[in-house]
Structure formats: structure tokens, C-alpha cells
Subunit: 214 residues, 2 copies
DNA sequence: TAGATTGTTAATCGATTAACAATC
DNA sequence: TAGATTGTTAATCGATTAACAATC
């Protein structure tokens, strides 16, 4: 694999996920070869964008021909690191945590939920998904080691988010998705993504408001 | 209100949501005035960024002093269009749809779930949240009109996403959040946001992979 | 007044798009 | 070969940051 010298934009990485989903669908349909224009049309970007995104990582196509679907899919999965499976912990066994635990989309992409944690005594011991019992937050460090968990999803109230982040970081977690609507801090070397569901709706209402003003 | 001539970056809009959350917390704590540096420190951006973001919409501060928390919060909420409430439909009464229906974070920001729809006969008639009964997808057009619903959240399988989008658009929905991992098309004048949960994890695994290569 | 902090402009940085030579 | 499409460079566009005059 080519060692990347130039920094890859985060937007490029997100788009690679989208390309890979399209390629999976194309593969199912029995499509063998696609052009950057095909990919672009199906995912709503420009062909130049597709080629540029791929160019960060190497040369995967054939001039005059295009890309082999199966091959390109394999490459992108490797680039994204999803040629292997990953073990994931969910913190917070409320509605959202439960739903995420049962969400098929994670399994489908090789993410296996291996632990669900909460503080609430009523929830501990309950079975959430895949026969996983909710454990107390205290057990995070040992469970993460025992089950080789690398990623964590936070689905606790905003007020508890930073505390949970700190526990996770101390336990050696390297990547966190935070669903709590709360800015949190992680040390260098730990990757964080903030997913703010209400803020998503607010971008829509902003746009609707602007439309009215026009 | 100043009519915006210059296009506001989407990133600015998202940050306004984040600023407003911080301001709400500050208000609760009884903080009266904040500087751009205060906001910046708490949400993890630069003070210049905060001032630039606000400058798209007017002058809300006092030089040498800062911003009045309560006042700025009110302005931002008005800009985002969340000085009023919005009615929302959820399509898909599976795990994710159910969780989103019960999610407190929406209510807290003035988003009221007024309808939940599914195709599955077993789900129809079940009570999801706020005493809302799941209705068949066929009922979307009339329910949307009846309940004055403007926004919709799609939580159906990828294969059904475009079909649902088309129904929603035909019913007059103006803003859609799509949780299905599927690129969909909307006509001009309808706003769409794609929230791809697995892709979020994949950005993390990409980063972890890169770290290893270094 | 002196110190603080805004609002705004200009400079920088980064990402997207267009264009085209390379090449299948 | 001629047509098609990649990979890559240069041009454009847009967003962030730095700097500072305005002003409380």
C-alpha cells in the first residue's frame, strides 16, 4: 500500500464509504466494470471528484475502460479499514443505545457490538442485542480488554458525555462516536466524531427559513 | 432581519447549533455575558470562527464587552428557525425509527413527532411514542396535511428509501433526513440531509488504519 | 483614559472543478 | 486506429485564520 504523504480530506473518506455502497449494489446486479461517471451519477458527485478521491490512494482503474467493480470495492474496503471486522462498545442503554445495538447496518459493514454499558441498576443484566447483557460502566476497562474492543459509541445524556469519554480513553479506546449533544474533549491519538441528530434537523429549518426570506 | 446576500456555509449553520447549545448551558449556570473566546474554548473552534459565523447574520455583540448570553441565544434560535416548533414525521417503525420517536433531544429543541409510518401490517396500530399509533405509508399525504408536518425522518431499509422520498416529496415535505444508507434524489426546493451511521464508524477505522501506517 | 473585545478585511489554506495528456 | 476514460495538473472556488481598526 502506498504511504499517504498528502493529507486526505475527511470529506473524501466519507465519500469512499458512499462509493463502496454503490459498488456493492453494482456487484449484486452483476455489473463488472464502472466508469467514474457511473459512480458519480449514482452517488451525486462529479466524475472528477471520484477520480480525485481515488487518486489519493493509488491507481485503481484502466484508461479507456474504467474500474473493475469487485476489485475497486476490495481496494476501498481496505483503505477504509473494513476488510476486517471491528468490535464496538455502546455506552448508554436507553432508546438510542438499544436501537444502535440492534441496527443491522453496523453488522453488515463488519462492526460487531461486543458490549453495552449503563449506570442504571434497572438496566444492568438486561439483554440488548446478540445476547449481550448490559453491564455497569465500571466494567468498561476490563470488558474492552477482554473483548478486544477498539471503537465506542456514546448514547448517554449530554451531562454524562465527558465523563464517559474519559473512562473510554483511559480504557484504551481509539475511536469514539458521540451522539450526546455535548462538545467533549479527547487527547491526541483518539479520534472523535460528533453526530448531533437535532442539529441535523436545524440545518433543515435554517434552509427552510432562508427560502421564505428570498 | 438582514437579508443574506452572501451564501452562508453549511458548516456555519451546524456550528450555530453547537453555539446555541453552549449558550443554553451558560444561561442555566447564570452566566450573563460571554466573549467569542469563551464560546470558542467551550465548543472547540477559534474565536475568529465564532465572530465570522455570527457576522453572516448581523452584529450581536458589544466591542470590549462580548455577547449577552440570553440575547445571542435568542438571535441564533431565530436564525436557525427554532424560535417556533416544527412537526416531524418518521418513516419506518423499526428499531431506529422507534428510538428516534422517543428521543428526548428532538422535543427539547422544539421538534414534535406527529406521525410514524410503516408498511409492515404487524406494526400498524402499535403505539410508538407520545401516544402516536403507527399508520400505513399510504396515509402519509393526508396525515402530513392534517398535522401540519414539514419535516420527515427516513428510517427504512436502503431498498425502500427512494420510494419513501418520492411519497414525501409528493406530499409536500420540504426537509428530509435520510438514515438509510442509500443515495436518494430530491427535486429542487426540498432539502435533504444524509446521516450514515456506518460511514461515521468507517471514518474512524480509516483514521486508525492511517495511524498504524505512520 | 486604558484595556478588552468586537466586526471586518485581507491573507492563507484547503477542497473542488476543469482541462487534457496519457493510454487502454 | 478511433473512441473512451483514466490520472494528474492547474485554475477556481470557498472556507478558515490572522490581523487590526473601531469602539465599548
Amino acid at each position: 500500500m502506498k504511504t499517504t504523504k498528502i493529507k486526505v480530506p475527511e470529506a473524501t473518506v466519507s465519500r469512499l464509504s458512499v462509493y463502496s455502497r454503490y459498488l456493492e449494489q453494482a456487484l449484486e446486479k452483476g455489473i463488472v466494470t464502472v466508469s467514474s461517471a457511473d459512480i458519480a451519477k449514482n452517488v451525486g458527485v462529479t466524475p472528477a471528484q471520484v477520480r480525485k478521491d481515488l487518486a489519493y490512494f493509488g491507481e485503481f482503474g484502466t484508461r479507456g475502460v474504467g474500474y473493475k467493480v469487485e476489485e475497486l470495492l476490495k481496494y476501498i474496503k481496505k483503505i477504509l479499514g473494513i476488510n476486517t471486522t471491528w468490535n464496538v462498545a455502546i455506552i448508554g442503554a436507553g432508546n438510542l443505545g438499544t436501537a444502535l445495538c440492534r441496527y443491522k447496518g453496523f453488522q453488515k459493514r463488519g462492526f460487531h457490538i461486543k458490549g453495552v454499558f449503563d449506570k442504571d441498576a434497572n438496566k444492568i443484566g438486561q439483554i440488548m442485542c446478540n445476547n449481550i447483557k448490559v453491564k455497569h460502566i465500571e466494567n468498561i476497562p476490563q470488558e474492552i480488554k477482554k473483548n478486544d474492543i477498539t471503537l465506542a459509541i456514546i448514547a448517554v445524556p449530554a451531562s454524562a458525555a465527558q465523563e464517559v469519554v474519559d473512562i473510554l480513553v483511559k480504557s484504551g479506546i481509539k475511536g469514539i462516536i458521540n451522539f450526546a449533544p455535548q462538545t467533549v474533549n479527547v487527547p491526541k491519538g483518539v479520534f472523535l466524531r460528533q453526530v448531533d441528530l437535532a442539529a441535523q434537523l436545524e440545518v433543515l429549518t435554517f434552509n427552510l427559513n432562508e427560502e421564505v426570506l428570498k
